[in-house]
């Protein structure tokens, strides 16, 4: 029994979707971790640190993502030591390099979102923590960053959606993700309308899930959300 597509084509599509989700998850985790590091480095007093982070952000905001991905795939391996290069070619180099490129690009934007969240925290919060005997790191960890992340949450959810959709760019270097598989089936069957329709629905399911998760987080992160019902 075929529903819209024969079973083998469904299997191809879901294989692609699995790769898309994996690529997104790995790139997002890497991007978020790197964004936090960028923010901390940017916040130091050293000019070299600030400039390096600014340059990193400027590059990733001003160069097309497709170029960044191709740069990582075609150019960067040349610079890597032979051992790492051969390891990559043995271990799905397209996927790994696409994940790195996507993570770096998203990190630049996420760092800016988190930084604007940090700037929204008044200096008096910092002072209150210091007056209780917090070190700089304790102040950041317990007082400033948790509040800044709450403020940054809506833009960060937007970045996650963007990253999820941008995983399709990885098809340009041959990562067999959802868009790649869609094109493949389309070339095979010329069943253009159906197959792109299905791909659209699958992408929408992904982004809607992310949006729902984002608004759940936002509700959870609102201080005193339970009180509001009584107030």
């Amino acid at each position: 029994m075929n529903f819209l597509l024969p079973p083998d084509q469904w299997a191809m599509l879901f294989g692609g979707l699995r790769t898309t989700i994996l690529l997104f998850a790995i790139a997002w985790i890497g991007a978020f971790a790197l964004a936090l590091i960028l923010v901390i480095v940017r916040a130091t007093d050293y000019r070299v640190c600030r400039w390096s982070v600014d340059a990193f952000v400027a590059y990733h905001r001003n160069v097309p993502l497709l170029v960044q991905v191709m740069f990582w795939y075609f150019a960067m391996p040349e610079l890597l030591p032979e051992g790492i290069r051969f390891w990559l070619y043995d271990h799905n180099a397209e996927f790994c390099l696409a994940a790195i490129a996507l993570a770096l690009g998203s990190a630049a934007y996420q760092a800016e979102d988190i930084r604007s969240g940090l700037r929204a925290i008044p200096g008096t919060q910092f002072e209150a923590a210091r007056a209780l005997g917090c070190t700089y790191m304790e102040t950041m960890r317990f007082i400033v960053v948790p509040q800044a992340l709450r403020i940054s949450l809506p833009p960060l959810v937007g970045r996650a959606l963007l990253l999820f959709k941008n995983t399709s760019i990885a098809m340009a270097i041959g990562v067999a993700e959802l868009t790649y598989r869609t094109r493949e089936i389309e070339n095979l069957t010329f069943n253009t309308f159906t197959i792109f329709g299905i791909a659209t629905v699958l992408y929408l399911l992904g982004t809607f899930s992310l949006m729902a998760f984002g608004s759940w987080l936002e509700r959870r992160a609102t201080p005193g959300r339970k009180e509001r019902h009584h107030a």
Binding site: T124, Q125, A128, L132, G133, Q147, R150, P223, E227, A231
Partner: protein, 248 residues
């Protein structure tokens, strides 16, 4: 028996650029004393108490807290600040934490005490400031007066030997001033060492042991509340008193 000195300023000077904000300040606060610091706006009162826990650096002179030189190189400020409570004009509670978490934060995270122990202490302190039933609330849902009382409980949670108040009632609506002053008066009667920058003259008269009057960065008068209010002999004090009493 002489009481032990807990805070000692010795010829402390401080500048903001060219402008001198503290001028040869020398004074002592003994254990158990309630000292009220007052004076016109810009006279250096807030700067004075903010130097005690090193929220502000000093220019020169020496300042000791419980015998420790606050501004000496090598002083562990994070440790020192645990032994002096600070209450801000704008409360500065942590808005992302419940009232209880605001009070248990420092004992748990900074002093590494157990949660159970910290919560018992916090609930006891919240009861003392009359807010036991607000433990689960968030600061954004409290009135200014309630927030300031939580801030006092938070400052007390480290069980400091001395607590500093920086105009604790100046940001409050008039009807909330009383509840905060009541808490402060109860603290004073319990023997807490307090240094309060405030314009609440009733508080100074009722529980103050000393009144320090500052003008242009100098300690102009350091006397008892009775003498300060009933027999002011300094022209600047007379003018200040008539201003705060609204006599024009």
């Amino acid at each position: 028996m002489t009481q032990s000195v807990i805070v000692r300023f010795d010829k402390v000077n401080k500048w903001y650029g060219q402008h001198q904000v503290l001028h040869d300040v020398s004074l002592e606060v003994k254990k158990g004393e309630v000292v009220v610091v007052c004076g016109p706006s810009g006279s250096g009162k807030s700067t004075l108490i903010r130097t005690i826990n090193a929220l502000e650096p000093i220019g020169n002179g020496s300042l000791t807290l419980d015998g420790i030189a606050v501004h000496a190189k090598g002083t562990d400020l994070n440790k020192l600040r645990q032994s002096v409570g600070f209450v801000f004009q704008q409360f500065n509670l942590f808005p992302h934490m419940s009232v209880l978490d605001n009070v248990t934060f420092a004992p748990i995270r900074i002093q590494k005490r157990s949660r159970a122990e910290a919560e018992t202490l916090a609930r006891d302190l919240l009861a003392r400031v009359g807010l036991a039933e607000k433990a689960g609330s968030f600061p954004g849902f409290l009135s200014g007066g309630q927030q300031q009382r939580v801030a006092i409980a938070r400052a007390l949670a480290l069980q400091p030997p001395v607590i500093l108040f920086d105009e604790p009632t100046s940001a409050l609506d008039p009807e909330m001033v009383g509840e905060v002053l009541q808490v402060m008066k109860a603290l004073a009667r319990d023997g807490m060492t307090m240094i309060c920058v405030t314009h609440e003259m009733g508080f100074a008269r009722e529980v103050g042991d000393r009144v320090i009057f500052m003008d242009q960065g100098r300690v102009v008068v350091d006397t008892t509340p009775d003498l300060f209010f009933d027999a002011p002999d300094h022209p600047r004090v007379k003018r200040f008193l008539s201003d705060v009493r609204g006599e024009h």
